[in-house]
Amino acid sequence: MATPSPVNVGRLTQIAGFELVRMFLTKRGLIALAAFALVWLVILRYPIGQAVGIISSPDFEQIARDISGSIGLSKLLDWPEAEFAMYWLIALYSFPVFSLFICSDQTVGDRERGTLRFLSLRSTRFEILFGRFLGQLAVLTCLVGITLIATLAVLGFREPSLLAGGLGRAVSIFLILIVTFTPFVALMSLINTFASSSRLSIVLAILYFTAGGIIVGLLEWQIPALSVLDYLFPGVQIELLAGQNLPLLSALAIPLGQTAVLLAVAQRIFARSSL
């Protein structure tokens, strides 16, 4: 196969942009979006909308503080924008699972159908792989952005004076969430290089986290020094991150490092695979 060529930014942008078209302008993408919107309407209406009242209740606050404190979430209770505290927790744990599903068909469907053969005559394999990854990340970014704006609207509806502070909080949450979700998208980019269908990609991702987690857990139990293997799993830092107990540098470096490794492995496999 061909020797590595310089990345053409124009082609990369076209490939990434086409993923947005695929999500927002195709019937299948719009159905997925509608389902996503419905789920988030329920989340915004109940957990976020109503939990604010519960968290803000003076009677409940101490109990909540005790419970939250025991699992390291007490800092969240200090946020004046309680909606964002609830959003933060729901988004942090739900989007990674969601991203495994919506990013499950980055290259595998096109490879099985032969569509990648048309693409590979016009762009390098790296551009295809990385462009699709960026495209899926852009889709995820849009969805996180939309839900954050909706949460901001709920906050503004309850207490307009919190809007200015809420905006700053929304921006920081947005950036950290996107970086946190990046390795999940990269993991699906990697699995797509050898899986034979998007469904199998999802199954393999679930197996990676479950069976992989058990194996690594057993290894660590035998040899504690192997705890470094935890970093094989995207989201390893989420538990600490949820309670705002992780330094910002680690919150950014861990997922970005994982993403770089996953994409490098994916590219190595993809460049050598038959189309």
């Binding site: 196969m1 032969g114 053969r117 048309f118 590979s120 005559l121 050598r272 189309l275």
Partner: protein, 302 residues
């Protein structure tokens, strides 16, 4: 003249199966080149190597001086890979326009280009249809259209007319014939008559081994005629054998005879046709030389 494509000692194996065995060939700029052979002979493997979809197990392959799949070949080499499909969820004009953009065209130009190539294959009226809503034949023609985007120097079509009705297969042949002055086509097909009409160089693959044949003007074998009759007549071989200058006659297949003649025999073709007329034999075709089919399969019904 510098070769467009050069393959040297090219081999490809899948596990223990050798799909291509030490293949050597050169393709020059010019008339379409045919790649023929039975199923499993290695044609699609060779196409896949040429397109950079797979890597050779051994040997070297160069297209316009570059390795297959190289970015330097984008916009210069295009292909219709066998069985490859467009995304069924998108409008075909959107997909073709996307490919045109990848080839460096602007938004407006890419839309015009998508319609131009769809028009070439007679599908401009379904430009807004999704690929999944088209018939098998239409989908095939759209994939041919994608191979014509831009101005490629080399166009490789693997089984381009397979699955097309006779009218559209003919249109594709005419299209290839029209465009062959602008690009060098490499065609694979099981329809040898089709390839014989279009191509001058024939690469014949069988069990991974390559041999070359020539057709039409490049056919230097002037000592044979192939006569195809409309009906089966009695003692044709013996009667043709009696003609002056004929050294040998044999039936290559039903109602088809190969006539070997002395190089000094002038106007034997005229004599042959007169002979048919005198004996009231209806003939369908008189080929100057061997048919491609006979060259490849050397069928001699004795």
């Amino acid at each position: 003249m510098k070769s467009l494509i050069t393959g040297r000692n090219l081999s490809k194996s899948y596990g223990s199966k050798l799909a291509l065995n030490n293949v050597n060939f050169e393709i020059q700029k010019g008339a379409p080149v045919a790649l023929v052979g039975p199923n499993g002979a290695g044609k699609t493997t060779l196409f896949s190597l040429l397109c950079g979809y797979i890597a050779p197990s051994m040997g070297e392959l160069e297209i316009l001086g570059h390795k297959p799949g190289s970015a330097a070949l984008f916009n210069k080499v295009s292909a219709l890979p066998q069985d490859a499909q467009l995304d069924p969820r998108f409008n075909i004009d959107k997909q073709l326009s996307f490919y045109a953009k990848l080839q460096g065209m602007g938004t407006k130009q890419s839309q015009i280009e998508a319609l131009r190539v769809l028009d070439l294959v007679g599908l401009s009226e379904v430009a807004k249809n999704r690929a999944g809503d088209l018939s098998h034949g239409m989908r095939k023609r759209v994939t041919i259209a994608q191979a014509l985007i831009g101005s490629p120097q080399i166009v490789m079509l693997d089984e381009a007319t397979a699955g097309l009705d006779p009218i559209h297969a003919r249109e594709v042949r005419e299209l290839v014939s029209e465009l062959s002055s602008q690009a060098t086509f490499i065609l694979s097909s099981h329809d040898l008559t089709e390839l014989e009409r279009l191509c001058s160089q024939v690469l014949h693959l069988d069990k991974g081994i390559l041999s070359e044949h020539q057709t039409k003007a490049a056919n230097t074998d002037k000592h044979f005629y192939t006569l195809m009759l409309s009906e089966a007549y009695q003692n044709v071989e013996q009667q043709l054998q009696a003609l002056d200058g004929v050294s040998r006659v044999y039936m290559s297949q039903h109602k088809e005879y190969v006539i070997e003649y002395q190089p000094t025999s002038d106007s034997l073709d005229i004599a042959l046709l007169q002979f048919c007329h005198q004996h009231n034999w209806q003939y369908r075709q008189l080929v100057n030389g061997h048919t491609l089919e006979n060259q490849i399969f050397k069928q001699e019904k004795l």
